[in-house]
Subunit: 463 residues, 2 copies
Amino acid sequence: MVEKDSHLNRESENHETLYGVSQETIRELEKTLEEGNKDAVQHLIAPLHAADVAVVIEYISPQLRDSLIEILRPQFDPYIFTHLNEIVREEVIEQLGTRDVAEAIGRLKSDDAVALIEDLEEDQQRKILEYIPLSDRVILEEVLTYPEDSAARLMQREIVCVPNFWTVEEALKYMTKERNLPEKFYDLFVVDPKHVPIGGVPLSLLLRQPPSTKIMDIMLVDIKKIPATMDQEDVALLFQKYGLVSAPVVDSAGRIIGMITVDDVVDVIEEEAEKDIMHLSRVTESDFYEPLLSTSYSRIRWLLITLINTLLAATVISQFQPTIQKMVALAVLMPITTAMGGNAGMQVVTVTVRALATRELGMANMSRAIRKEVLVGLINGIVFGGIMGTIAAFWFSDPALGMVLGGALVFNMMWAAVWGVILPILIEKMGMDPAISAGPFLTTTTDLLGFAIFLGLAWFFLI
Amino acid sequence: MVEKDSHLNRESENHETLYGVSQETIRELEKTLEEGNKDAVQHLIAPLHAADVAVVIEYISPQLRDSLIEILRPQFDPYIFTHLNEIVREEVIEQLGTRDVAEAIGRLKSDDAVALIEDLEEDQQRKILEYIPLSDRVILEEVLTYPEDSAARLMQREIVCVPNFWTVEEALKYMTKERNLPEKFYDLFVVDPKHVPIGGVPLSLLLRQPPSTKIMDIMLVDIKKIPATMDQEDVALLFQKYGLVSAPVVDSAGRIIGMITVDDVVDVIEEEAEKDIMHLSRVTESDFYEPLLSTSYSRIRWLLITLINTLLAATVISQFQPTIQKMVALAVLMPITTAMGGNAGMQVVTVTVRALATRELGMANMSRAIRKEVLVGLINGIVFGGIMGTIAAFWFSDPALGMVLGGALVFNMMWAAVWGVILPILIEKMGMDPAISAGPFLTTTTDLLGFAIFLGLAWFFLI
């Protein structure tokens, strides 16, 4: 088993350079860029996939990045944008300038163009749209009227629609002739005369039919039509749940207006999980490439919550200064209550936030979930209250002190469990993101209550 | 803007029931199950997708679940297994028994069968494999010799391969005739006589070619071959980076042995992000459906780390009991140092862990990342040291106390920043998972150092 694993690890290391750019290539590029040898740089970049050029642009230092962009400018591959980290992308767009960026966007698929434009600031958007030819611009502007993070923003307008009375042969002939098809597609959508999708035919199914077969006889009617205003998180859950590869997007009248393909959904899944990870640890997303000062600022904003939290806790403790003076052991033990309560609470918050995000937790099983967490909190409170109480009793040769610590722990861990599951649910019901606010709220209460209960019990029973 | 958003929210609520099972359906099913009306239950279940039946099984109470499984047993859809939460799945498998489960597995695609079997315990695996027909069993057993979480475990054996000298017409004819093709596929793989993949043809490209076109003239040679031993996380990154829909899996001799499709990768992305989320908050994955006591146990295991951490911290504080007795304000302020250091540290750990997981952070930009985090830590340390020091100085009318708190904060937040970025990198280099261990390690040091530095400085300068 050990051998197999180490084998896997060794191979994994090679895989890092199996595809993509090796560290050596990056080093070589850096050297060539420093020397200012344009031809050599182009020679090194040429064989790379747009995704790998994006990696190179991200990895190298800002100075070298500027020279590289200038070298790439005349034939800038617009798909590099779609793979760039948001912050680096903004810098590249700044450097290339409105006209060149607009020209590059014109060469993108409609969904990629929208993804790029929607992240820009409004006046930058307007300037770039001005440079884009009218026919493309109208399409982009229409999509931009839909809310951010909606299905419409993910979709591409290029689709393949056929009527249900066609035969397989007619559909195949249409696809060979028609030049205005999407570059890649996986399903034909079958529409009625009003352009309402009524079925789908996966290409792998179409290919295996005799030419005279009627489309209506082979089409799958169990297709998942996606309303243009559906939230991208729901789109991602839909694709994931039903294993979709592409799905039609419909407007409010039910007419097909585009399709979403799985590659866009993969990015959404990653993005949404990333958001939850970052918010639960109180960081803003994607700050790896953010400049120093703006990283510092965004971290400070979140740490201010901790600051207020700890100041409140300090105020609570300060009420018990005479008590602590009489019994310094309290100062030694008091961080235990808050640390255990805070950590136990974050466990429950994390599980609940994720269960809500993946729809594992819904109205139907909510009361069962709450009941379970309360019981787990009670059990764990008793376990740790017992352990810590016993340790404290022996440590300070004071059984009463042990009982006070134990009691405070049971109470605080129960509290953390109850509110750890209820808070995220309440916050979500209020239409806010529980990943952002449930944690800080809960830790504030476990801190304040932890100190108050422990020191209060001590003041009442021990002094 | 507000109106648009509320519109989106209202629509989102409907989307929840647009596809999948509504709460009403679940309530109705629960009632019917309680009444023991088998026909009515089957009537309610029949129109549901396997993924939705899985949701029902997860949502209803364990008692009703048992009755539902008995009703479904005669025609159990094996794809329900692939959508079930791991823990619930185990219970269902237990209830159905070896023979019925083996029979159901025989009806699954090879990749889904492997996914199901690999999660079972060894003797259960053996028992179920015994019931599976020899030809299928050999394939399953071969795949199971590859390491867990490797590409081979994700692949399906059913693929479409064509030689490069065929024409489009020949390929199409082969696909119409051959009955042993995968149910869904998106690319033809072009292989040489040794079965080494040399190219790929997306179906949407194939369809638009004149019949006489040679496969070798249209095939894309830039295909990403996936070694069977590649880690699933790397497979997922590859699909995501290059927007793949399917890719060939090759053995150590480079021969094609299967393919991985994007739907499996979507699950891996979700799974890997989930692992990181849970581990960073010190919980085990997927414990939403775990039984009470085993949830309690798995939470306790992680909380023991916090317990040891806080006991060590208490030991540090206890060294300073005489100092605290002389100046109780220290007890009031000391949690501030550790809370700020701990939270600032977790921010850096989270960003670093994710940047490592998504390969945003690599050898090439490591030193730049470390330098940046140290500077951010220094800036934020000075900001919060300044704020808190000033507050403390005025609160207790003691400028020296303010300076001690400020100094301790600067030091602890710097420490958190430096080790917050270095620890995950070191842990990953040692071949371990930084999401699991970096956080607890770091918080232990910020706690111990936070108390030690603050109380130590106070003892030295103030007493």
